[in-house]
Amino acid sequence: MQGRVGPPLLQPYYDVRKLFEKERVSVNSVEGVYVACALLFALIAGGIFYSGGNLLLCVFVITLSSLFFIMAAYSTRSPYAEVGAARETLQVMSYEPMVLLMAVAFFQASGSFDVAEVFQLNHPIICTIWLVFLGVLFILTIKLRKSPFDLSMSHHAHQEIVRGMTTEMSGPTLGMVEIMHWCENVLFLGWIGMFFLWAIPTSILVAIVIVLLVYFLEIWIDNNFARVSGVHVQVGVARGPCRRRCERRVPRVPVRR
């Protein structure tokens, strides 16, 4: 797409493996605890969902995870992290109604909040609540932090606030954030797959194919839709120039060793 090879597929794994090898420092003593809580609740939410548990509880637990992550960013008292946290809060407020609507619509369609109920249905819930599916597809881009909506935290410093929420997080703490992001990806794609499951066991294959297609669509959106601002409508801008503008910004919160 950009005429280049790019990093290997396992690059996020290499990054995390490296981050856990780095020195353990943080700007304060609570940041790591908040991030650990965020990771823990993301894992619990995934566990609830994939064990066929209560979808509403899963939604609340994953929101709690997001809130812990926002608190972790606010606790660092860095201006960049605070701006990132404020943006993240706005994003959570904007997508959360749709997520709750999804849970309610799921109840309307299947007669239960239990995810395992989908395997008792005669037809997948997409047949009745396809509009909700479109809504979830729309907020999925925000939840997966893909390009037009990666303004609170991005792998690159696109959003002009260094690394946003993770600016002051480093080493193993940043590694936990990355793992939390993987867990969230798996959970949210599970929500997508849930729409296509019904009593026939082979429907799992259908769901997996749809999930892969949706994930590819998200990556396609990520690469094709740069953030647009005002009159400067630049769709498909390469990733180069932003780095130059961002590189001089050195955060000033000292580390505590």
């Binding site: 950009q2 005429g3 410093a157 997080m169 050195v250």
Partner: protein, 149 residues
């Protein structure tokens, strides 16, 4: 440290120089040369960086900044002095405010004493040699804008 070799995140600081090395470094990190093939990411954040890439010499004004960035980086970390100015002060070594190479401020691990500005491309030992070799043996097609030239 073994795992770091597959994801070296770089922070780049230009001390004081003619900006030749500065521009070359940024050109290398851009999609044209595609450093991300090797996991290289140009972070603007010393707390995430593994490699501190300094171009240009250390002077009275920036010695504090260089030390501050170095202190904020987490172990294990590597400092690369890129270009002759960063190694010894180069042509600016006897300037009234220049202290010298980066090693006057922080410990340097790798010296890369060749500057793109100092000589013509053919004779400069390290950087343009690497550059031209990457260009000629490029295993993927050039970006469209370069092909059309």
């Amino acid at each position: 440290m073994a795992f770091a070799s597959k994801s070296p995140w770089v922070i780049h600081y230009d001390g004081s120089s003619c900006n030749g090395c500065d521009i070359e470094v940024l050109a290398t990190l851009c999609p044209g040369f595609d450093g991300e093939r090797f996991g290289v990411v140009n972070t603007g954040n010393p707390k995430h960086a593994d490699i501190f890439l300094v171009t240009g010499s250390v002077n009275e004004q920036n010695i504090g900044v260089v030390r501050e960035i170095y202190d904020q980086m987490l172990e294990p970390k590597v400092v690369v002095a890129c270009g002759i100015c960063a190694c010894t002060g180069g042509v600016f070594h006897d300037c009234y405010n220049v202290i010298g190479g980066v090693d006057k401020a922080i410990p340097v691990d790798v010296y890369a004493p060749a500057a793109p500005c100092a000589r013509s491309r053919s004779s400069t030992p390290w950087w343009p040699a690497w550059r031209s070799s990457t260009r000629s043996r490029r295993p993927w097609p050039l970006p469209r804008r370069e092909r059309e030239k």
